[in-house]
């Protein structure tokens, strides 16, 4: 069964995109959209088929993975690239949850998007996204990964601005795309750096790994280290864009303007983790770049802490989750920064489940409240929507790292690796642990404000509150199971290391190399587990004390934070504004108003000079036609005379 071709996996969503896109365009002219049943069935069927293929392949995958070169892509002097796929331990895990969660969320969307005018268009975009994401994780070289990389960015743009009647949504979409573009340029330049080092063949992951091993065994690391460090930094810039790390993180909170399933799929579970995937994929290269690794760790730490704090101040339920995503991504980067790529991918994996569950739960809440997103107008929903509440609470336990739930295993692992990472390890560990406490606080706040206490919305809206339909609940429940049990794939304390073993062929050697660089005293893992549990309990306790009985301020107009909270939340927006946008605007103004006017003035001056000269020439023009003829005859005569006398001028 394992001889299924790899290209089947991306093919299914691509076919679905084309089909649904055609349906969307054709049906757009009519009064009613296309039949939702058919569209929904198509939209779920194709990703599900992809998932089935992935599952079959994953089951029978040889340890070294499967490689398949489809065809040549670019072939010019100096540069060659193929379209090729690689299915190994890392791609397997990514693909399993990308297609799996993708299918579930597509199913959920059928209920969520019910009645929307752009129903078919939405699913066309979602399938295009899945196609791009699959290409991203399945490709065997950086250039093809970049295709998926920009492809998911493009789909993110399309889906954030899905409700394009509202200009604010479009602006959020534009922001997401442009900020990502900045990162993408880093990615592009990083590839060029690599090509400079080892030719275009090195863009292939296998070739890169063997190249790195070659220079390591030959002891030439110092020679290429400067260029490789630059390469690493450039790729990291790309990752900060896609994975919303400092400084390119402002787009993710704004991206919540899109439909909630999109936020769950793209901006929580899959796309934003592609930065982490890339770090792990290039692990062999990053492992020999200590400076870059340190930068990654510090950036990840700052992001995790800053976003957790910002999450405390949000009133919009989706914004809380957005900042929480950024914060969790910070954890993953911290792990990658200490070369614990398997731990960081493990957190990607568990995070995909519980964050998707949280988002879908939030979506169900928003759906129940007919579009209300401000938590100050919620409350007491546990009675009205019990299933949603249960799902959200399980996912809440997972994200704060409550013992036994998925997040507990992965977050503990990251903190443990942080502690063991060298002399600065304990400091990283303390900050990570502190961030975990804040995580528990803001998530506790979200749960308390949404599900407990009294309902704070208007009376009329209270009557309409209803539980979501089954096709929305089913994916949520499945994800909630994932949020509980996904962690048991790698439960160190009880001796299960399945996940690590399956990743070992890909990232094992890089991590082994990094481990030789520093050795830390062995600490009993139970201590970490205990401290982690303590952090979660402490955070929950604080949340209960602070928000449990407090009066919630009445909601005013906008759900955006105000005052000092806003300063903290929008800090990086200000940074972007003053370091990026305004300088460009000033430059554009100079071009438009100064340079262009100077050029126009020059043009006008030249024109004026020509006109004046022409006016001058008319003076010698005589009035009578006859005289002109006489002059010209005289002129010819004079010329003939001159030629005759001098024997030719030339």
């Amino acid at each position: 069964m394992t001889n299924l071709p790899l290209w089947l996996i991306p093919l299914f969503p691509l076919v679905a995109t084309i089909l649904l896109g055609t349906i969307a365009v054709v049906s757009s002219g009519g009064k009613k959209g296309a039949a939702e049943g058919i569209v929904g069935a198509l939209a779920v069927l194709f990703p599900a088929m992809s998932f089935a293929v992935v599952a079959i392949l994953a089951y029978g995958m040889p340890e070294a993975g499967i490689r398949e070169t489809l065809c040549n892509w670019i072939d010019i002097p100096l540069f060659k690239a193929d379209i090729g796929f690689m299915f190994d331990g890392l791609s397997r895990i990514m693909l399993l949850f990308v297609t799996g969660i993708g299918t579930l969320i597509t199913m959920y969307s059928i209920g969520y998007m019910h009645g929307d005018r752009g129903f078919a268009r939405f699913f066309a975009y979602i399938n295009l996204f899945l196609f791009s994401m699959i290409v991203l994780v399945l490709s065997d070289n950086l250039l093809l990964t970049f295709l998926g990389w920009e492809g998911v960015g493009l789909c993110s743009y399309l889906l954030i601005g899905f409700w394009n009647k509202d200009v604010n949504n479009c602006k959020a979409a534009n922001k997401a795309f442009i900020v990502n573009r900045v990162g993408d340029i880093g990615f592009l330049l990083g590839m060029l750096c690599l090509v400079t080092v080892g030719g275009s063949g090195i863009l292939n992951y296998d070739a890169l790994t063997s190249f790195i091993q070659m220079i390591m065994t030959a002891g030439h690391v110092e020679i290429v280290l400067p260029v490789l460090s630059l390469t690493g930094l450039l790729f990291f810039i790309g990752c900060t864009g896609k994975s919303a790390q400092i400084p390119l993180l402002t787009w993710l909170p704004d991206a919540m303007a899109g439909p909630t399933p999109v936020s769950a799929l793209i901006h929580a579970a899959t796309m934003v983790t592609s930065g982490v995937y890339l770090l792990a994929r290039l692990g062999s290269m990053f492992a020999i770049l200590p400076v870059v690794l340190d930068i990654i760790t510090v950036i990840g730490m700052l992001t995790a802490f800053w976003a957790a704090m910002a999450g405390l101040f949000q009133n919009d339920i989706k914004k809380v989750l957005a900042y929480s995503t950024i914060s969790q991504l910070g954890y993953m980067f911290m792990a990658a920064g200490v070369c614990a790529f398997d731990a960081s991918i493990f957190h990607v994996f568990t995070h995909a489940f519980f964050k998707a569950a949280l988002f879908l739960g939030a979506g169900a809440v928003i759906h129940a409240l007919a579009g209300e997103q401000d938590m100050r107008k919620m409350g007491g929903l546990v009675k009205k929507t019990p299933v949603t509440a249960c799902v959200m609470i399980f996912a809440f336990f997972a994200i704060i790292g409550f013992p036994g739930f998925a997040g507990f295993w992965s977050k503990d692992l990251i903190l443990e690796r942080l502690f063991m990472s060298g002399p600065m390890g304990p400091a990283f560990y303390v900050i990570g642990l502190f961030t975990a406490v804040i995580t528990a606080v803001y998530m506790g706040r979200l749960i308390i404000l949404t599900f407990f206490g009294e309902y704070r919305g208007s009376k009329e809206s209270e009557e309409h509150i209803h539980e979501a339909p089954a096709c929305m609940l089913l994916p949520m429940v499945i994800l909630a199971f994932g949020a509980i049990f996904a962690g048991y794939l790698w439960a160190d304390s009880i001796g299960i290391t399945f996940f690590r073993d399956s990743l070992a062929p890909v990232v094992g050697s890089a991590q082994a190399y990094a481990a030789t660089m520093h050795s830390a005293a062995h600490v009993n893992p139970m201590i970490f587990a205990g401290l982690g549990t303590l952090a979660a309990l402490l955070g929950m306790f604080i949340a209960y004390k602070v928000y449990g009985n407090a009066r919630v301020p009445a909601a005013k107009g906008s759900s955006a934070p105000e005052g000092r909270k806003a300063t903290w939340t929008f800090f990086f927006d200000y940074v972007h504004k003053y370091c990026g946008i305004i300088p460009v605007q000033v430059l554009a103004w100079i071009c438009d108003v100064v340079v262009d006017k100077i050029l126009q003035a020059t043009q006008w001056t030249l024109g004026a000079i020509a006109t004046i000269l022409g006016d001058g020439a008319t003076v010698i023009q005589v009035r009578k036609v006859r005289l002109q003829v006489a002059f010209s005859v005289a002129g010819v005569a004079a010329l003939v005379l001159v030629v005759l006398l001098t024997g030719g001028l030339i």
Binding site: S28, F79, K165, N174, L192, D596
Partner: protein
């Protein structure tokens, strides 16, 4: 034969169009469509046929020059693709104008055909005088069409356009004439040889005059004064042709005429490259502030062509295919965008960005195309634009990281202005009072859709485009005949001069001599030899330029500019 048809038949088609009715666009549009389709088919055949040349026909002699002017056409990958752009965009223009400007369709079609013939001639001419003739001839139908069918300020636009481009190429005419008094004939090789005999100062002056003509046509900052007003005032179908095909004549001139003829030194190369990059940034910044949709597209075109010119003067090995793909992608994409902007203008009655909006709700098919092509112009991977821009970026990276960074900055800016453009035109709420002109017709939508599909196809399989260059190389080598005598003689002459900037020779004299003798046995005539030399030199000069630049570097006593240093560093 194919070449003759592609150059001459458009003029015949233009004459035949006179026979159709002036008032009723039905018959004339059908005839024009058939002609247009035939030309597209022919241009595809031309691409498939690869390297081709006609027999040189002596056309006339300019008094005071040594050799005759030939009517002599040849096609190689670059020219053939440019011809494809010119015919394809003309066809779509004819389709699109059917709905847009019904008032005097016949005359519009006549103008388009004349323009197409002139453009094809420009891209296929092997003789410098013939090239110049067509290069100038393009301006006339274009200016007349602008003056006849343009917007409110059409006269001003036509005047600016004509004066800029004609004045820009006037110095080129003079220096070409001067070169012809020295050269044996006006073919590429003899021009290059003639130039070698001149003192350095004269060479520089001639180079400057040639550069000026192409720089104005492309246009490159600061000679872009005509562009914005022309593109915005011209009827949208014509703007599409102007940017998609005619502006390529400038870049084409750099590749096909400047690079083979002139021994460029590092200073000029890097100046031109930085001018190209400055154009790219300037165009992008201007596009950010543009309030007129067509002006925005005009500046966006300028930005992309700036990148193309920078790519040309990066002179890396990958330059030729990279720039070719970029040009094809830009031609299709910018062309389609102009058509779509024309449709938007027709539907809404305005092209002010602030007054547009909400067309997504009004016309879904249109806005799907509009959004798709807008995104394609951002060089998203999987579209031809990406292949072009990435490979050009690769070439620029060789020249130094700073150049690549500037280009990266341009790519970010392009996202900023293009997304703003898309948002302003199709998203948001409709501003209410639209004229509700005719919507996208089926044929129009289909033809633009085909262009979008082509962009995707070339994005995933650029070999369709780049292979036409390979084809050229191999065939050129195969056809390499007894060019040896002239070429080796020339090389010897150069060796005597001790000039380090020799004409590049991809083949060694021994190889040429071998081929020479073997082909002499086959009995090729003098005329055939000459024509083949020209073709071969045209190809090889571009490819071997890299080595020439290297040679120039070695000889330069003090490589003052940074690029030279970077270049050396990166080679180490």
């Amino acid at each position: 034969m194919l070449l003759h048809i592609l150059v001459l038949a458009p003029f015949i088609a233009a004459i035949l169009m006179v026979a159709t009715s002036k008032e009723d666009p039905k018959s004339s549009s059908r005839l024009a469509f058939i002609f247009g389709l035939a030309f597209v088919a022919l241009s595809v055949m031309l691409i498939a046929a690869g390297n081709k040349a006609t027999d040189p026909i002596e056309w006339f002699r300019i008094p005071g020059t040594k050799g005759p002017v030939y009517y002599y056409l040849y096609s190689h990958g670059l020219g053939a693709w440019m011809v494809f752009l010119s015919t394809a965009l003309s066809l779509v223009a004819l389709v699109s104008a059917r709905v847009t400007s019904c008032k005097n369709y016949r005359n519009f079609a006549i103008g388009i055909f004349a323009l197409m013939g002139a453009m094809n001639g420009t891209f296929l001419a092997a003789d410098a005088v013939l090239f110049f003739f067509f290069f100038e001839a393009m301006v006339i139908p274009a200016a007349i069409l602008i003056a006849g069918f343009g917007g409110e300020k059409r006269r001003e636009a036509a005047m600016t356009f004509a004066i800029y481009t004609l004045v820009g190429s006037a110095p080129m005419m003079i220096s070409l004439l001067y070169l012809l008094t020295i050269a044996d004939n006006s073919l590429l090789l003899s021009l290059a040889m003639a130039l070698q005999q001149l003192p350095a100062g004269t060479q520089a002056a001639i180079l400057a005059s040639f550069l000026l003509a192409f720089v104005v046509k492309t246009p490159i900052f600061p000679f872009h004064g005509w562009q914005a007003i022309t593109y915005s005032e011209a009827p949208a179908p014509l703007s599409a042709i102007l940017t998609g095909a005619m502006s390529k004549a400038g870049v084409f001139g750099f590749i096909a005429w400047i690079l083979p003829i002139f021994p460029l030194n590092m200073g000029i190369v890097s100046t031109m490259m930085w001018l190209g990059l400055a154009t790219a940034v300037y165009g992008a910044l201007m596009a950010l502030r543009a309030t007129d949709g067509k002006k925005l597209l005009a500046f966006s075109s300028m930005s992309h062509l700036g990148i193309a010119v920078a790519g040309v003067f990066s002179l890396s090995e990958a330059m030729l295919p990279a720039v070719l793909v970029l040009l094809v992608a830009h031609g299709l994409c910018a062309g389609a965008q102009f058509f779509l902007m024309g449709i938007a203008e027709r539907m809404a009655g305005t092209r002010e960005l602030d007054k547009l909006g909400g067309l997504a709700g009004n016309s879904p098919v249109f806005s799907t195309l509009f959004g798709a092509l807008g995104v394609m112009s951002l060089a998203v991977p999987g579209t031809a634009g990406f292949v072009g821009e990435f490979t050009v970026l690769l070439s620029l990276w060789d020249m130094g990281p700073l150049a690549a960074l500037v280009m990266g900055f341009t790519m970010i800016l392009s996202a900023a202005y293009m997304l703003r453009f898309i948002q302003k035109v199709i998203f948001g709420k409709a501003s209410g009072s639209y004229d509700n002109g005719p919507r996208t017709s089926g044929l129009e939508g289909a033809s633009i859709g085909v262009m979008a599909v082509l962009l995707l196809v070339f994005g995933f399989h650029p070999a369709f485009v780049t292979d036409s260059l390979h084809l050229f190389d191999e065939e050129a080598v195969e056809q390499m005949t007894d060019a040896g005598k002239d070429a080796s003689a020339e090389e010897a002459a150069e060796a005597d001069e001790g000039d380090s900037e020799e004409l590049p020779q991809a083949m060694t004299p021994e190889e040429i001599a071998q081929l020479d003798s073997s082909l002499k046995a086959n009995g090729f005539s003098d005329e055939e030899r000459k024509s083949l030399i020209t073709q071969v030199v045209g190809a090889e000069a571009a490819l071997a330029l890299e080595s020439r630049v290297q040679a120039g570097l070695d000889s330069a006593a003090a490589p003052t500019n940074e690029e030279a240093l970077n270049k050396e560093a990166s080679n180490d």
